[in-house]
Symmetry: C2
Subunit: 281 residues, 2 copies
């Protein structure tokens, strides 16, 4: 018998299928369907509404790239806000920087975090750190109401057509802008320029209308649709490449599996079709 | 009714499925099974032994990257040899450079070329150019016996476990070395560092044992396994980034869809895991 999980890629009428050897967890929260399965090739896999959020095999790519790029640009990233990211992978990477004093994680769905703490502790474990406060509430409401200020905001959301919808609105980006310090940086996961050009353009349009300086960078993430994944880098002051903190990077000398100083620069070099998408908006 | 094509990805016990609206061509040559189908989302798709070789939607990525990278490094690329590449996409890109005087295309399977000329002429059409000579014969044998010399050799092969097997041997690379001019460059498609690390390491080991200078570069190709695709750049003299021909690039001012001068440089910045793979061999 062969048990498989298939994620449908509606944007290309396609699908990706992987073998499943164990079904570890399956439940429904008020917000979404949550499954954790084990795959012989991909390790443990977190699925939300039947979409791959992370696999143990390649989650390091997404999490290193969403965390270390802004961290190695901001000169003094002490206060960091993560919206979404309840699996804990982004927080794990942030905490590798001692300069980060405090991380607020705001995720609407506590059940995701509880499931990941139990079944994928290599990813979620650092959520229990003293430097982290988990706030299980609506990120949209949080950024509207909080009096806190942040150096970096990382929007580690699900897709625009899910519970994460509110995290792709102009209003949300405006509220993020307000609670960022004057030299703050917002990074968000921005879908696939190859297969989700409409979602991509919508993100570009809204971010551009709020932030003066907007850049995008990308990574190879095999288990996300198309494998070509983008991140927005919206910044009040620092340039993502010119202000790369070479010294801190060298001193820390962290063992990365995907990220490195060459990748930091190269990730901002975009294919022509993606560049034109940004220029055209 | 829904008709689909599924490519199995044995390296990860996975599969990718796409919709098919028409089956345009299906036959068996002495070497492989050849199909051309039409997909609503991917356009016409060439399948060899049930593996996607190209789709009209994203073939530009592979073909631009395999052709223009070496072309914009070599100062005087007049004579070019393509091994494999019977679909014509690589030749189409090469001919955009007027400096290229002659291209020899050596592909073992004439039936692929005939089918592509008929059903995917936007990719194959330039094979009829006066500057191109198609030699339908075994590339392994050709490079062993020819008295011709080349500035650039592009190995645009199928995978190592197919009819293209001989194009991944040390002997083949040695013969290529012999027929390259003293400042020649060999570029080959090198599989996925993410999902085919064993194939990748084997390519690295063999190329390293023949060429003094070996580099790799990569591109986002959604319809190849993992979407993370590598190319080998084995060179007798020129450095792939330091010797980038900025002047010729600017003068030609070709409209590319993926490639550009930033991508040229950035493509050689490798993720840490891939870099270590190369250093460890």
């Amino acid at each position: 018998m062969s048990v498989t999980f298939t994620e449908f890629y509606p944007e290309v009428d396609g699908a990706f299928t992987m073998q499943v050897s164990k079904m570890l967890y399956s439940d429904r929260s008020p917000y979404q369907k949550i499954d954790i399965v084990e795959s012989p090739q991909f390790g443990r896999v977190l699925l939300l509404d039947d979409m791959v959020m992370l696999t143990e095999r390649d989650e390091f790519i997404y999490h290193e790239m969403i965390a270390h790029v802004p961290l190695f640009v901001h000169p003094n990233p002490r206060q960091v806000l993560v919206i979404g990211g309840g699996d804990g992978g982004t927080v794990r990477e942030l905490l590798r920087h001692e300069i980060v004093q405090h991380v607020d994680l705001v995720d609407i769905d506590e059940m995701v975090t509880r499931a990941c703490l139990k079944y994928i502790p290599t990813v979620a474990g650092k959520l229990l750190s003293e430097r982290v406060e988990c706030k299980f509430q609506d990120g949209v409401k949080y950024v509207k109401e909080t009096q806190q200020r942040y150096d970096i905001i990382i929007v580690d959301s699900t897709d625009p057509d899910t519970v994460g919808e509110g995290l792709f609105t102009r209003q949300f980006y405006q509220d993020c802008y307000r609670i960022l310090n004057d030299d703050g940086i917002l990074v968000n996961q921005s879908e696939s320029p190859a297969w989700q050009p409409q979602a991509m353009k919508s993100i570009i349009r809204k971010l551009k209308s709020v932030f003066d300086q907007l850049y995008f960078y990308q990574a190879h993430i095999p288990t996300y649709p198309s494998g070509h994944w983008a991140f927005g880098f919206a910044t009040k002051k620092y340039h993502p490449v010119k202000n790369f903190r070479k010294e801190r990077y060298r001193q820390l000398n962290l063992p990365f599996k995907y990220y490195n100083s060459d990748i930091h620069r190269a990730a901002f070099a975009l294919p022509t079709f993606f560049r034109e998408m940004i220029d055209d908006v």
